[in-house]
Each structure stands twice: as C-alpha cells, then as structure tokens.
Amino acid sequence: MGTRIELHLFGAADDSATVEARRAIEAVDDALTIHRPSPTTALNECLMAGRKVAIDDPVLFDALIEIEAAYVATQGLFDPAADARSGAAGWGAVSFDRSNARIEASQPVALDLGGFGKGFALDRACDALRSAGVLSALLSAGESSIAVIGEHPLGGGWPFAIPHPLRPEQVLVELELRDEALSISSTVGAGAHAPDRAAMIRPTDGAIVTGQRSTVAVDFSGARAEVMSTALLVADEDQASRFLDGQQTRCLLFDFVREATMTASPVGLVA
C-alpha cells in the first residue's frame, strides 16, 4: 500500500492485540500490493494474458468479494480495473466465479487495489483488535483513512476536523466517529500533485475528472468508506445526486469550482 499505518490504543489491552493487528495489516499488504510480487500481481498477469485463474489467497479472495459488491453498489463508479493509461476495459470485463474461486476477463485488465486496500486493512486490523478485547482505538492509514474502535477514551465520539484542501489553515468540515471508518478523497490539495499519481478517471465513460473536488465518506466498514469516497469523487452531477440518495454511508461532496462562484461555504451534498 506504500502507506504509513498508525495504531493508537487506549485503555487496557493485551500486548498481543497490537501484534495481531499488525499481522492483519501486513497480510493485506502482502496479498494486495502491486509494488512487489504478490497474489494480486500474479492475478493481473493472468488477466492481462486472457487466462482464467483460481484465487488461492484467502485475503485476496475476500477482497474480491467486497470489490464485486462495491462495483454493483456504486453503479460502476468504483472500479479498481479502470486505468486511463492502459485503456483497460474495467471490472465490467471481469467475471468472478465466487463459488469456485475463479476469475477471468473478456479483455485484458489489471487490478489496482491500493486505495481500497487501506480501508480493507483497517477493517481487518480493527477486527483483530476487537477480538483481543480492545475497546478504544484509533487507526490511520496514510493521510486520508481513519478508523476508530468504540468511543474516544475521554468519552463521546472521536472529533475530527478535515482541513480545506486549498486553504489548509481553514477547516472544511468537522465530524465525530463512533466505531466507524472515514475516508477522504480529493482531486486537489498537496497529495493530489504527487509525481506518480495517475489522473482520476470516471469508469463509466472513461472521462478524466478535471473538477476540483473533495469527498468524505463515513461507514462502519473502512473498505466501504474508501469505495464511497472514491466513487463520489468521479461521479458526474447526476450520478452524484443519484448515488447519494438512499446511501447508508455518510457521504460529503465538496465542489470547489462552484465554491469559487458562491459567497457561502463549499457545496456539501450530504447523504
């Protein structure tokens, strides 16, 4: 994942809790990374070559189940197989046989599970900590993915402030989490200009997303929060409105292009 993950545990906790959480995170990284040989890179080689392949790795298998569900839930807006550089066909070309743990693609595709993997790893680490009896903890994966267990150690929800990506000295939004995960995605701000960061594309039509947007998603699942913040970031306005209707996830969309023409605070569409 190429991301720094921090675990902050509060209250009585067995030392083994941290060890188990770390193992869970490393297991996800080992399975989903594409930056060194892994089950995912092996899978990608087969999919790019047009071969059907059996999924032997249980972590990758679980991830694929969630990805398939996310693709459906976001009406194709979340697509880890979409890649503007390669012109890959996307998840729509993938056929995942869950009952036989086999996968194939009708056209060459390759999966990049990096963003999803952060939330997925946080979920598994939280599971490990809860199993070890941890009642209060904060986990972060990089600068934009947070998960909390229980309440803040001093009581109540965990209060977070998300800075404005264009004016970091200003707060964009404040919110509280309880046993939830949060994901932030943005097309603007410092992280959006990393040298090796690929352009965001809208999987449904292949368009490069040029708007200045930030999205925030809060869900009981870190993986779903990643999926929702990513999908909302690339959605066009109609898709975003439809997408936000009826979601279980708390989602916020900030459109900074529209903000520039308004006297009020940025547009926040809340589901």
Binding site: R4, E6, H8, F10, L138, S140, G142, E143, S144, I146, H152, P153, L154, G155, G156, W158, P159, F160, A161, I162, P163, P165, P168, V171, L172, E174, L182, I184, G189
Partner: protein, 420 residues
C-alpha cells in the same frame, strides 16, 4: 583603489577581526587575532622577506605582502625561469632574483623567508633558512611526512626562530565571528563537523616545453604531495581542530583514484572520519569530478549550524507536532479536542532549506593580515601565539588521514609529536 580607500577597507577589516576576537573565550581560542590586528605599522624599517617559489601561489603571496604595512619583498627565488620572470614583474626592479635559494640566503639583506615551493621541499628549505639564522613563513601543509613536520617545529624551537604556516582562515573575520558565536553557545554543543572540498576539474596543469610534468604537476605525485589531503584538506582539518578545540584521536578513511585515471599517483576521491574526544566527529570528503557541494565546513551543533564559507548561521527548526501524536498527549492529560486529519501523518526528513542569517563581514584580506602578524612576530622576536600548534596539528591530521586510506586501517593520533 587609491591608498585612502584601501586604508578605510583595511581599518574596517581590522575592526571586524578585533570585534570578533573580543568575544567570551576568544582570547584563548584565537590568541593570534588580537596580536595580528595590533601589529604596529612601519612605513620604514619593514621586515625584509625573501620569497622562495614564485609560481601561482608564491606570486599571490607577494601581492598580499605588498598590501602589508610592515613587510616588504626584498628578494625572490625560483629555479624555473618563467615563474621567476613573472615574480620579477611584481616586485621593484632592483629586487634581487635568484635561481638557487642558497644563493639568496648567502646574499643576505633579508630578515625572513617565505616558502611557497612544492610540499616535499618545505622541510629542506625551512632547515636551510633556519641554518642561515632567519625566520620562516611556509605555505601549508607543513611537510610531506609527519616526521618532517615535527623536525620543522623542533628546528624552529632550537634556533629560536619563528616558524609560521599559512592558514589564512584563522585570520578571516567570518571564521572568527563564527567561532565567537560557537563559544557564545549560539548553536549549542558542537558534536560534528561535515566538511568537503569538491571540484570538477582534473587538477592537472599543462606542462610547458621547458618543464617536466612532475615539476608542474607535483601535486599529483606521491613523492612530492599527498594530493587532496595536504593541498586542500589541511585547511579544513585546521578548522575542525580549531572549532572542536582538540586534535583528533583517530581517523579511518578510504581513498581511490576513481575518475581521473591519467597516471596520477594521488587519490582523486577521499572520504574520512576523524574521531575526537567525547564521540565527536569530523567527516570529510574531497573529490575532483563533482563541484555541486564545493568547499564548506558544516559546523553542526545541537541548536544550530554554521557554514562559514557561505557565511551563514542556521538555527535548528523545531520539529512539527503530528496531529495523532498530539491527540495521544491530549488524552494523557485528560484533554479532548478535535483531531485535524487529512494532513501529514509523518513528515519526510528532507534537508532543511531555511535561509539562516548572515555571519557578515565579507572582506577577504586575511592573507595580508597573517603576513602583518608574521612581520610583527619577526620584529618582536616572538612567535604569533597559537598559530604553529594549529598548523602542526592540521598537517599531522592530513598525513595520518593519508596513512589510514593507504593502509585501510584506523590510525591513532601520534603519541610522539613535538610539544608546541
């Protein structure tokens, strides 16, 4: 520049030297500075200097001697005709010129001798000058071997004649001001100096038809030089010893002829670590095929850094507090507040690029001042305090660095040095 302008510049320069050397602890750390700045002007009865070696460096020295108010060049000598001719052009027409330094010494009419010859000749020339009953000002490094360095000191002591070595940084107001600020605690405890002298040229000079390669490029051959160590590192080792107020206890190093494989015998890449008491270190590199980092000494303290060649002092930047670390501390003290996220969860440890502040005082007449100090010492018959010890230890350090690189083993500071 007219004389009046020069006097003003000179006065300003001397004022800066005096101001820098007046700080707490400076009297013992740089006793030569006040001595030099207080040299009496002598429009007549100047100290008469004979100069052996009128190559590039020797001629630069002649020009600096001409700026002094108490010295004059009374004779010159070089065994290479074209150099001697260039030297003649810089001195009065009646100034005697010699091709043999013994003939110059025998001719008399001089009080002291300036030696600007290839390194391996320094000791022999110094001995001859002392034997003639004269004082010596010699270019750094002192000599080709540690034994010869010691012998030069011993001959000076036995003959009661002054031996002064050219280390102009000791007279540079920016260096003196840097030391004053170190002594005042402005950069905390100095535990490391990282120094470099990086150039991007072969260091090889064209050889005229009437000369030999070893005559012109003596710096490249082991008989006559230790290359980068004696010609460049010596200066910076002197700065290291001076600012760390000690001689090194041990050195490890690696040297190679890595880029200029042109028949030279001395290393074109050197990397060394000099250890000092208390775990302090002087880390040195010099090379001849990359000039990005140039010549500098980075004097690193617990609260700041000084780079005297750039003339800058930098304070350490307080570490940023990460949001999640702050949250941990808040909880520990029972304080709940909003955690800012979406920002850095860690900070890359990139070089700090704060501009720092100027150490000031950019006049560069330090070579002139060290000759005024020498002239004053000759007139008084007493050495400039502190100088020879600095120079001797710098030369020894450079040569033990060569030994460490040649042997591939650590070399301890010699236990049998002459007491200065």
């Amino acid at each position: 520049m007219i004389d009046k302008d020069f006097d003003l510049t000179r006065r300003s320069f001397i004022d800066h030297v005096l101001k820098a050397s007046a700080g707490v602890g400076m009297a013992s750390a740089a006793p030569w500075a006040a001595f030099a700045a207080g040299a009496e002007p002598a429009q007549s009865d100047r100290v008469r200097l004979g100069v052996i070696g009128t190559g590039d460096r020797g001629r630069a020295l002649i020009q600096n001697i001409a700026k002094t108010r108490n010295c004059t060049v009374a004779a010159i000598c070089d065994n290479y005709g074209p150099h001697l001719a260039k030297g003649r052009a810089l001195v009065a027409a009646a100034t005697p010129a010699f091709t043999d330094h013994r003939a110059m010494l025998d001719a008399g009419g001089i009080d002291a001798v300036v030696i600007a010859t290839p390194l391996h000749l320094h000791a022999r020339h110094s001995f001859d000058v002392f034997d003639a009953g004269l004082h010596v000002w010699c270019e750094k490094a002192m000599a080709r071997t540690i034994a010869d360095c010691g012998a030069m000191v011993k001959r000076s002591q036995d003959s009661r004649k002054i031996l002064q070595i050219g280390h102009q940084r000791m007279f540079h107001p920016t260096y003196l001001n840097a030391l004053r600020r170190v002594k005042a605690g402005e950069i905390g405890s100095v535990t490391q100096i990282r120094a470099s002298w990086h150039r991007n040229n072969s260091w090889r000079r064209p050889v005229p038809a009437d000369a030999t390669d070893r005559q012109i490029n003596w710096r490249l051959y082991r008989d006559s030089s230790a290359g980068l160590m004696t010609e460049l590192a010596t200066h910076q080792l002197q700065v290291g010893n001076w600012f760390l107020d000690a001689a090194p206890t041990r050195v490890i190093g690696s040297g190679s002829i890595c880029f200029w494989k042109d028949g030279r015998e001395v290393y074109d890449h050197v990397a060394l670590i000099y250890e000092y008491a208390g775990g302090r270190k002087f880390i040195y590199t010099s090379l001849l095929n990359n000039a990005r980092y140039g010549c500098e000494e980075q004097i690193q303290g617990s609260t700041g850094t000084i780079e005297p060649e750039l003339g800058r002092i930098y304070q350490e930047v307080p570490p940023k507090v990460l949001a999640l670390q702050r949250m941990q501390k808040d909880v520990a003290r029972g304080h709940k507040r909003t955690v800012p996220i979406g920002g850095a969860t860690w900070f890359p440890e990139l070089p700090v690029t704060t501009p720092g502040e100027s150490l000031g005082w950019g006049e560069f007449d330090e070579t002139m001042l060290q000759f005024e100090a020498f002239g004053e010492a000759v007139r008084r018959g007493t050495p400039v305090p502190g100088l020879l010890r600095q120079a001797y230890h710098a030369s020894v350090a450079s040569l033990m660095g060569e030994q460490a690189m040649d042997s591939g083993r650590p070399v301890d500071w010699p236990s049998s040095l002459v007491s200065v």
